[in-house]
């Protein structure tokens, strides 16, 4: 078993892992010949299945992967990987490889940095200072630094991941391209806050609500604590109602004892389905086509899901990758988000898929 590659776009890779780590710590990373898959299935909340072509994040010609099963399955703490990747900013080269230390499997990230700033010169030893007098400051500043970070991992046997399958969903009732995620997130967060100020004044839940808030805004490392620690707090989190129709409208709403608030986006795009994959006959039978036929003002043309506000906000953190997002609504059942990284729109392969279950009313 062998894996070694140069990293290509560490900014994107880092943003990707940051977005993933907000949903859960444990990540199944599957290295194949052409693609890298990241899967996070938390105990509760949204699961994400990401499929990234190798050349999006790795230098394709340096990518070496050998395995008897034609894939390497790794269990990794994704926030550790994210932290390590952040140190690659400003580096000239970084390499990721699979290695072993005392029989412990590791992912080793080696960062090669050549641009030393003047501030770092203070760290230089006396010897080097002397040599720098000879060769000049310039040379000393460009000295290479090599940092290797080791991230403990688990190698998963093929049989261990055999049972994991991407959820199967019925055909969507409504599919729509979401507006800018930053705007959507800021409004969603405002709604969450509206709901929590309401519950604060209503119940003695202030401590609990506060705890959930601090964990989502704070370090990701304890993001699992509230969800697994107290099922109550997550089940009592604000529930957002998200709905859309086939006439370019998306609605985000929340209802509390004190208020009822809704934001409606209009003139969004309901993307056409690829005719190459679906025959005319099938197309006409799709629920979304039926929904398209329903009048614009008709309530029945809307597909609605009820989602956890905090969880939704974590999902929307993928907005930092400035992707294009197609939301597929399966009425009262689930919401599936197809998140396409910039540059890969139409490139079918680079896609993050989020599966969000709808809560019952």
């Amino acid at each position: 078993m062998r894996f070694r590659t140069q990293l290509k776009d560490t900014k994107t890779f880092s943003k990707l892992t940051a977005s993933l780590s907000s949903l859960g710590k444990v990540c199944w990373m599957r290295l194949e010949y052409d693609v890298v898959r990241f899967t996070i299935i938390p105990d509760q909340g949204t699961q994400v299945w990401a499929q990234i072509p190798v050349d999006t994040i790795f230098e394709e010609n340096t990518y070496e992967m050998e395995s008897n099963s034609e894939a390497i399955n790794i269990e990794i703490n994704i926030s550790n990987l994210n932290r390590a990747l952040r140190s690659t900013f400003g580096s000239s080269q970084s390499q990721l490889r699979l290695t072993k230390k005392d029989k412990m499997p590791l992912l080793a990230l080696t960062v090669l940095s050549t641009d030393w700033t003047e501030g770092n010169m203070a760290l230089a030893t006396e010897d080097q200072d002397q040599s720098s007098e000879v060769t000049g400051d310039r040379r000393a500043r460009e000295r290479e630094t090599r940092i290797t970070q080791e991230i403990p991992i688990k190698i998963l046997h093929e049989s261990a991941v055999d049972g994991l399958h991407e959820p199967h969903c019925p055909d969507p009732d409504v599919h729509i391209i979401l507006p800018g995620l930053a705007q959507l997130k800021s409004i969603s967060d405002r709604f969450n806050r509206l709901a929590s100020t309401d519950s604060k004044s209503k119940f003695q839940q202030t401590g609990m609500v506060g705890a959930v808030e601090s964990s989502t805004t704070g370090a990701n490392s304890n993001s699992n604590a509230p969800t697994s620690g107290s099922g109550l707090s997550s089940s009592s989190g604000p529930k957002l109602e998200l709905s859309a129709n086939m006439h370019g409208k998306l609605k985000l709403a929340i209802v509390t004892d004190e208020l009822r608030i809704a934001s409606v986006w209009s003139a969004l795009v309901n993307p056409p389905l690829d005719p190459a994959h679906i025959s005319e006959q099938q197309l006409s039978q799709l629920p979304s086509e039926r929904m398209r036929g329903v009048g614009e003002d008709d309530e029945s043309g809307w597909a609605k899901v009820r989602i956890d506000g905090k969880d939704w906000s974590r999902v929307l953190s993928v907005g930092r990758l400035s992707p294009k997002v197609v939301a597929c609504f399966i009425n009262e059942t689930a919401l599936v988000l197809y998140v396409y990284l910039p540059g890969s729109w139409n490139g079918e392969e680079s896609c993050l898929t989020y599966y969000i279950n709808s809560f019952a009313a």
Partner: protein, 384 residues
């Protein structure tokens, strides 16, 4: 059916600025009058905040009810006598403020208000394109269809329309804190910044009591002290400029702007001449006339934590009128200029010229502490 009340503003930020001044409680009582909207909050019957959104703040203002005529012809913002005749109800003020903030109106200056301190400071929506100047085109519609219906707020921005329906509750028969208009014994008008600086200065020693002292004849003419905290008492005196020594926090705001202020003061020269001896330099109006039973000096104590709640109003306002009646009820009336172009109320370095933009008023009233023991008594901070 035509709604009872509708108003449209193209600048939700103005509404937010005014209402955030009184954002000291979660619920506010709203009263609709032909001249504007009156929002009032109170806490434990010892502090009351009042914001009047004049109809001139709105692009359109339609109120379709003819009120029952009564003897109180005046609809001054601090008039408390018309609760009976106009529709009034209670809404969640915190929800209203959050709603007005929906589009990151407040991105560029996060308020140092009480309830905002623990919110994350970075808003992903903030960018070069969400600067307040670009937010002017959004419209904000308030509507109250009929008695008992929710208060609806509709905010429209390119592509997004947000509608919020706030549940309205029956207003309690809360009477305002009475300020005896015919028994005002102190009236001091000055730039609000001076008061804000003084309170901020005193606040640093974390006092529990604010002592107010005013006298028309002897120094200190006007002094504010913080007492009862873990540190010793500290005092800010507003003194007369003649000796060129300004004591306390007021001096830190820069003496040059003080002298400028005296020159720019548009009071008559005769009044200034007599006043120069008897009034602190920073005051525009300084009237102290205690009844003979009180002696020459007015001294009252207030709970500092309550005064602190008016800090946001102090920071936003241009001028403040400090009034006290015979019973010691303190009224702080803040004049807030809402500039059409400037997002924040007080322009930096503005003189005391006649107001340019719309002028609005926010009032606070405080019940005095009667004696030392009252200070120790723990007044509940929250209503519920």
């Amino acid at each position: 059916m035509e709604p009872l009340f509708t108003c449209v503003s193209n600048n939700a930020h103005h509404l937010y600025t005014l209402l955030s001044c009184i954002g000291i409680a979660s619920k506010a009582t709203v009263q609709i009058t032909p001249d504007g909207l009156r929002f009032s909050v109170e806490e434990g019957r010892v502090i009351q905040g009042l914001a009047f959104l004049d109809k001139s703040l709105f692009n359109s203002y339609t109120f379709n009810q003819q009120p029952v005529p009564n003897n109180q012809g005046s609809t001054e913002n601090d008039d408390s006598s018309e609760h009976i005749t106009y529709p009034h109800f209670v809404v969640s003020l915190s929800a209203l403020l959050e709603t007005l903030k929906i589009f990151g109106i407040n991105d560029l200056n996060e308020p140092n208000g009480i309830r905002d301190t623990n919110l994350p400071q970075t808003n992903p929506a903030s960018s070069a394109f969400s600067a307040p100047t670009l937010l002017m085109d959004r419209s904000c519609t308030l509507q109250y269809a009929q008695h008992g219906s929710p208060l609806s707020i509709a905010i429209t921005e390119s592509g997004v329309k947000t509608t919020c329906e706030l549940v309205t509750y029956e207003a309690e028969d809360a009477t305002d804190i009475p300020l005896q208009r015919d028994a005002i014994i102190m009236k001091i008008i000055m730039r609000s910044a001076w008061l804000h600086n003084a309170i901020a200065e005193l606040d640093s020693s974390n006092p529990t009591i604010l002592k107010l002292s005013a006298c028309a004849t002897r120094e200190p003419f006007f002094a504010l002290s913080g007492a009862g905290g873990p540190f010793s008492e500290s005092t800010v005196e507003f003194s007369v400029d003649q000796h060129n020594e300004i004591v306390g926090g007021a001096s830190q705001a820069g003496p040059q702007s003080q002298s400028h202020k005296v020159l720019a003061d548009d009071g008559s020269s005769r009044a200034r001449a007599t006043r120069a001896k008897l009034a602190p330099t920073v005051t525009e109006t300084f009237l102290v006339s205690p009844p003979s039973s009180m002696g020459e000096r007015i001294a009252q104590n207030y709970r500092f934590a309550l005064i602190r709640k008016a800090a946001r109003a102090m920071s936003v306002a241009n001028k403040v009128s400090i009034r006290g009646d015979r019973q010691g009820v303190l009224s702080l009336q803040f004049m807030i200029e809402l500039d059409e172009n400037n997002a924040v109320g007080r322009p930096v370095g503005a003189g005391m010229k006649a107001p340019a933009g719309t002028v609005c008023f926010v009032d606070f009233r405080f019940v005095p502490l009667l004696d030392e023991e009252d200070a120790e008594m723990d007044v509940p901070v929250d209503n519920e």
